[in-house]
């Protein structure tokens, strides 16, 4: 991934920073210029708790270039406690089967690397089973 692009969205990717709409108070992730709920201008930053539940999931056996090393991997739609849904890989699953409704929490992990070509290792959010935080 190109450096300027990665730099531009680092807050979202490292800290799950989105927005709260100043007009209707809906929480927004990822941040947008326009609130998808009320259509008002949205600029106020809001850091999400990183807690949520699995809304749907899949286990992938074919990957796009840059992600092959993780195969097979689980990707989920995670419904955040504050409302929005995000797409994210699941991690630290161990032998635990994934289920819809399972509580998960955000962690920062390596999500891809561009190999020798550009040498960038991209870190970002993934989600793990919520009980794992007890260890």
């Amino acid at each position: 991934m190109e450096n300027p692009r990665h730099w531009r969205i680092r807050k979202q990717r490292y800290a799950l920073v989105g927005e709260v709409c100043p007009h209707c108070e809906v929480k927004i992730f990822p941040p947008r210029d326009v609130c998808p709920n009320c259509g008002g201008e949205a600029k106020t930053q809001f850091a999400f708790s990183g807690k949520g539940t699995v809304f749907s999931f899949t286990v992938m056996n074919d990957a796009p270039a840059g992600y092959e090393k993780n195969l097979p991997y689980a990707v989920a739609l995670v419904k955040l406690e504050e409302g929005p849904i995000v797409t994210a890989q699941l991690t630290d699953l161990g032998d635990q089967p994934v289920e819809i409704g399972m509580p998960v929490e955000m962690v920062t992990r390596r999500i891809r690397d561009d190999g020798d070509e550009k040498g960038i290792i991209v870190y970002g959010y993934k989600f793990r089973p919520a009980f794992a935080s007890q260890h």
């Binding site: 991934m1 692009r5 969205i9 990717r13 990822p30 998808p36 809304f55 749907s56 999931f57 899949t58 286990v59 992938m60 056996n61 074919d62 990957a63 796009p64 270039a65 840059g66 992600y67 092959e68 993780n70 991997y73 990707v75 989920a76 739609l77 929005p84 849904i85 995000v86 797409t87 994210a88 890989q89 819809i100 999500i111 891809r112 991209v122 970002g124």
Partner: protein
């Protein structure tokens, strides 16, 4: 306004054309369509394509393809709307001719996937998801379908094996289509034992990506040369709708709202209801999308679209035939060209030229082309012109 009609169609077989270039594929389809239209010379070319800039490192097909078709000088524009690029290009051709600004337009869908292989191709195709927030997490189009199907299975509890009906029907119908990629039937057993690609989507639930090119010539009815002896097909409804690009931005990912809106728009313009059509060419890029398209168009209640696959309704002799020439699953899925293949196949049915796949007395078709999980939906109503 004079009717906008399809005066000619052309296609090349869908498959892996290692020895044929992007431009040659397109030119062959264009020339075939112009010939079928009695040699009508187009003033505009609208091109449906998704991957040329990434996979073939070639942009500005709007100049390249008229040039190599010996049509240098005409208007040429590429339409990109992921898997709905072909349908989108057809829409543009329709608007151009219907507006009166263009007398005759050729619409060509072309896709060249075999210029790269493996993960590089997966990534190029996945760039039609939200790059920053979906592909960045390693998501592909197939994984999106996996997320949707998992949710469907959880919410409505259909028998998992019921989804086999869609690829089985597609393969059965492809047997009679000389332009299809896989002309062999498949069994329930083959479906049940297919390897998992993106759970719960297995290899038989997804259409294979392939090379292909298809073209149609659109013109006003009064401009069709006398030498054209085949029946004409008119465009009586045309509509495009969009939904969120990212699946996660939808409160109800099983609704396929854009699919519903495009059908409503096209049928309203044609003055019909969806049930007034003789067949429905839908997008079975994934079997779950076929099910959701049937529900979105109102042919089944939410959560019950899969049942239509079990009672014969969707077969060529049923009440609502779909995928009549093999659909995406067995004809093959040439992404940005697929929407034009659908139009060509529907036109052949309406002209009575579908060979052993002919639907008796087919007079009106609904054709729907989806990009992604119905992030873009293009719908057209086509009708055989009387006399």
């Amino acid at each position: 306004m004079s009717d906008v009609v399809i005066a000619g169609v052309g296609q090349i077989p869908v498959g892996e054309h290692w020895d044929v270039s992007l431009r040659s594929q397109a030119v062959r389809a264009v020339l075939a369509a112009i010939k079928d239209a009695g040699g009508l010379k187009p003033q505009a070319m609208y091109i449906g394509n998704l991957l040329a800039p990434t996979v073939s490192h070639q942009s500005n097909l709007g100049a390249l393809l008229p040039d190599w078709s010996n049509l240098t000088g005409i208007e040429g524009i590429t339409v990109e709307a992921a898997g709905a690029s072909g349908g989108g290009a057809f829409r543009l051709g329709y608007l151009a001719v219907a507006s009166g600004f263009v007398d005759t337009a050729v619409v060509v869908g072309v896709e060249k996937i075999t210029d790269v292989v493996g993960p590089e191709l997966e990534r190029a195709i996945a760039e039609s998801t939200d790059y920053d927030y979906e592909l960045a997490q390693g998501l592909t189009l197939t994984a999106q379908a996996g997320l949707v199907m998992q949710l469907y299975l959880h919410q409505y509890k259909p028998p998992r094996e019921a989804f086999a009906a869609f690829p089985m029907l597609a393969h059965e119908n492809a047997v009679g289509n000389p332009f299809a990629m896989y002309r062999k039937p498949i069994s329930q057993k083959a479906y049940d034992s297919a390897p998992m690609v993106s759970e719960p989507v297995n290899l038989m639930d997804m259409a294979p990506y392939a090379d292909g090119a298809a073209a149609v010539v659109l013109t006003r009815r009064d401009l069709v040369p006398d030498s054209v002896s085949h029946p004409l097909v008119k465009v009586s409804g045309s509509s495009v709708a969009s939904d969120t690009l990212a699946l996660h931005d939808r409160s109800d990912p099983l609704a396929f709202d854009a699919a519903r809106l495009s059908v409503e728009g096209a049928c309203r313009q044609a003055g019909i209801l969806p049930q007034d059509v003789d067949f429905f060419e839908l997008t079975d890029a994934f079997s779950i999308y076929a099910v959701l398209s049937l529900e979105a168009a109102g042919f089944a209640p939410r959560g019950e679209g899969w049942k239509l696959g079990l009672d014969g309704t969707l077969r060529r002799d049923g009440k609502l035939p779909i995928l009549t020439m093999g659909g995406f699953k067995a004809r093959g899925n040439p992404l940005g060209a697929a929407g034009v293949y659908q139009i060509v196949e529907a036109a052949l049915q309406l002209r009575g030229e579908a060979g052993s796949n002919q639907i008796p007395n087919a007079r009106r078709a609904l054709v729907q082309n989806l990009g992604g999980p119905a992030s873009t939906a293009v719908a057209h109503v086509l009708e055989r012109v009387n006399g």
